[in-house]
Structure formats: C-alpha cells, structure tokens
Amino acid sequence: MSAPETSGPILCLKDVWVEYGDKIVLEKVDLAIEEGSFVSIIGPSGAGKSSLLRLILGQEAPSRGTISLDGAPLTPECGPDRGVVFQRYSVFPHLTALANVVFGLECEKAPLLARLFGSAKAEATARATEMLEAVGLGDSLHLYPAQMSGGMQQRLAIAQALIKRPRVLLLDEPFGALDPGIRADMHALIKRLWRDYSLTIVMVTHDLREAFSLGTRVLALDKRRHDPHAPHRFGATAVYDLALRKDDEAAEPEAAQAPVEESA
C-alpha cells in the first residue's frame, strides 16, 4: 500500500521565520512535504529542529511566513489533524494503555463528559484494542504506563496518535531514550505502520543512521551564515535536502514482520 505520489504537497512552509526578540532561530525555511513521505530532520543542537516541529504542530506560530496543511493555512493551535509522539511524557500516566488510546475517540464523540458508554464504548474499545495490537501491545491493554518499559510506552504513544488517523504524524526524537536493541524493533514497527496506514511522517532525530534508514527524505538544518560576535543573529534553515530512493518493498520485507515483544 503506497501513498499516491501525484497529489500536491500535504504540508507547505513558505518563507517561514522564527524569531524571539532579536534572536533568530529559523530563517527563510521553504519546504513542501509530499503526502506519504517520511521526512527525517537532522541537525546540530540548537539548529531549530524542535522549533520547526513545534511550528508544524501548531504549538507555536511563525513570526513571518505561512504554513499550510492540505492547502489551508494552519492555525497556531494543536489539532487532531496532526499527531505527535515526544521522547517522553507522551502518554497519560493515570490511564491504562487501553484508556490512553480510547481517550482520542472519547474526545471527539463526547464533548461534554469525554467518556463513552454502552455500545459506543464497546466500539471505541474494539478500535483501540485493534490499534494496540497493531503496535504489539495486545497483551498489555490494562497496564499503566508506569508498569511499562520505555519501548512499550513509545508504542503506546504511537497507537494513541494513530487512532485519530492524523494527516501528518510528527515524531520528536521518539526513540532517543531507548536501548539500541529496542530501538531497532521500533524502527521496524514505525516503518511497517508508515506503509500499512499510508502515513506522512516528519521525524526529528539526532541519530543519522536512523534518519537515513527510515526516511524517504532527509533534511539537515543548520545556519548558513555565522557571525562570531552575534551568533544569535542568523537563524538555521534547510542546508541539505536529500530525497532518498527507497526500493522498500523489495529491499526489506522482514521489516514488515511483527516486532519482537519486549517485557516490562
């Protein structure tokens, strides 16, 4: 199942700047992200990777320029059309795995109580269970996040985001805090989900290997110019923009296998 390559860009940034007072974080970022692409964003610390992610997420508004999602200008507020997985704190500690995932469905269907009852609840539970099984948490439906390992928590965070079928899934160093072995499992998982659900993913990462092995496109952010007396006066922008050819179907069939389950 591959995304239609013919449609226009799903996400479009035009001449975007982020400035705090006289400190410039991002300057003149022009970016068009195609539907179905997996964009890795790399760059040194402080190069505005997270700022860019926050812009797309709507957590922050650009000081100049426009961002549009599906052709419509983006409001500077987080919404259900963009899912997110952070490195930490992405799941609700007071809810079980199942309740964490059902939450997204409840918000939509029960504006007043944010809780579902009866058949609506049964249906939401079934959908959430299916989603949790897809990320390999089918046996951990009733565990609280504190009872889970880091990898399981990130699986949960992904399931939680995907239940809303977001147009764009944003990952902010999602595997940065995990052990190398578990990280490999997670790479296989995210690749499989990306394919199965035709996702558009933007991932910020520190890990170059991860960026190139997962992404269909790698963006490197850095400052083009540097003033040693006023380092804050120049912002970062995309200095490299590499489209990677992926012969994915042929190359990595094993990546689509169910991930190895890790225990708490």
Binding site: L57, P80, S90, F92, F103, P111, A146, K164
Partner: protein, 271 residues
C-alpha cells in the same frame, strides 16, 4: 556499613520508632512520681491514675449542667467543624486550583489575588469573621477555610500548571477541548496531589480550630482545654491533647491509605 546504607526492616523500624515515645513517657512518669512524692496534691504533672479518673468522668458521666457526656460532645463538635472546614476547603482548592492551573488567562487574572489572600495571617482575620459572621459555628468553620484554602489552591494550581507541556499538547492533538483537558487530563492527576495537600493542611486546620474554639465557644476540644486550664486541670488537658494527636494521626493515615487505594498509578510502578 555506613549509616546511609542501613535501612531498618519493617519490624526493626517500628521498634526504633517506639523507643523515643516510650522514653518520653518514662521520663514523664519519673518526674511526676518524684513531684508527687514531695507534694501529693501536685496538679502540674498528674499521674496516670488521676488522668484516668478525670477522663472517666468526662467520658462516661453526664455533665449535670448540659446533660451530655462532655468528652464525646466536645469531640463531635470539633470534628464537625473541622470536617466541614476541610470539605469546603478541599472542594474550593480543587475547583479553583484546577481552573487556575489549566487556563492561563484565569491564572493571570486571579493568581495575584490568591497569592495576596494567602499571605494574610488568618488569625488576624478572626475579629473580622466574628464581627461579620457572629460567634456561632459559621465563623469557626470560616476561619479554618480561610486559613487553609489559599495554600491548597496555590499548591494544586502550580501542580496542574507544571504538568508536562507534552501531555497537554498530546491531548490537544487527540482532539481534546480546554474542558476535556481539564476533566480528563488535569483533574485525575490533581486528585492524589489534592489528598496530599489535605494531609499537609490537617495541621494548620487543627490550629485554627483550636484557636477559634479557645476564643469564642461553649463546646469543643479546644474550648475544653482552655476552660480547664483555669483550674490547672492538667489531668484533663494532657489526655485531650493526646486525643487530638490521635485523631490527627488517624486522619493522616486514612488519607494516605485512600490515596494509595484510589490512585495506584500515582504511587510508583509496583501496584
């Protein structure tokens, strides 16, 4: 082994904890016995027998004036005031704290007011309360409420405001409204903190209760202590104080148990 690494086991811990208490009681008994050896009518350090006799009368014999068993009537009156004050304060702290914590505009508007109220010494407001509300129950409960609510509100508000930003963002990307964030994300996570805040507020609540009862009342544990003080009746004062301490400990332990039972996710991984 260095001291920082010596963790007493449960039974040893209980034993260790009991030693200072037993020692203190022993010291008291020795001092009391010595004083009674010199002056058998000493009132300052009553012997246990005298305390039991005095308390027996207050617990099991009806007072000729009021027809009540004074000890139980006092306890009931005090617990009623304390309970009412705690319930009102807790409800207010949860409601106001949650709204202040979740909604930045509300925090900007009312935060300074809450801070301002919190720095006023509540006892300084006692005359105002007596003038405004009379000398009845309302003023006493109001003193407890005014005394402990602002601190609890600030605690809950700052706790909720400091929930990881990622959680709020996550909720918003799942389609939650401000209201839904408040009732499904902030409220449940504020509950264990609220119970903690109530436990911490118990001490001040007792202080305000005893103060109000000491100044204007005709029944209550604090009233009784300040009344019998005039007759140097330490044989009543000491058991009353011990009883207050026991009540406070029971409440504290009950709240701690409640928190563990109701919010296991907030108390570590092993639940």
């Amino acid at each position: 082994m260095r001291l920082v690494n010596r963790h007493p086991r449960r039974r040893t811990g209980l034993l260790l904890g009991a030693i200072p208490i037993v020692l203190l009681v022993l010291v008291y008994l020795i001092v009391a016995a010595q004083r009674h050896a010199i002056l058998p009518t000493d009132k300052i350090f009553p012997l246990p027998a005298a305390m039991i006799k005095a308390m027996g009368a207050m617990m099991f014999e009806a007072d000729p004036l009021s027809g009540q068993r004074v000890f139980w009537a006092d306890t009931l009156a005090s617990l009623q005031r304390l309970g009412l004050g705690l319930i009102i304060s807790t409800a207010a702290a949860l409601l106001v704290g949650l709204v202040l914590g979740v909604l930045p505009p509300v925090r900007a508007t009312f935060g300074p007011l809450v801070t301002g109220i919190a720095v006023i010494p509540p006892i300084a407001l006692l005359p105002v309360l007596f003038i405004a509300l009379g000398l009845g129950e309302t003023a006493k409960v109001a003193l407890i409420v005014i005394g402990i609510t602002p601190v609890m509100v600030r605690d809950i508000a700052s706790y909720v405001a400091e929930l990881p930003r990622e959680q709020i963002v996550k909720a918003l990307t799942l389609g939650a409204s401000s209201w839904q964030v408040m009732i499904r994300v902030a409220l449940p996570q504020a509950m264990p903190r609220l119970i903690h805040a109530v436990r911490l507020a118990l001490g001040p609540a007792w202080v305000f209760l005893i103060s109000a009862e000491a100044i204007a009342s005709d029944i209550g544990l604090g009233y009784r202590i300040f009344l019998v003080r005039r007759y140097l009746s330490m044989d009543v004062v000491i058991p009353y104080v011990a009883w207050i301490a026991l009540l406070a400990i029971v409440m504290d332990v009950a709240l701690a148990k409640l928190s563990r039972r109701a919010f296991p996710w907030a108390h570590g991984a092993s639940h």
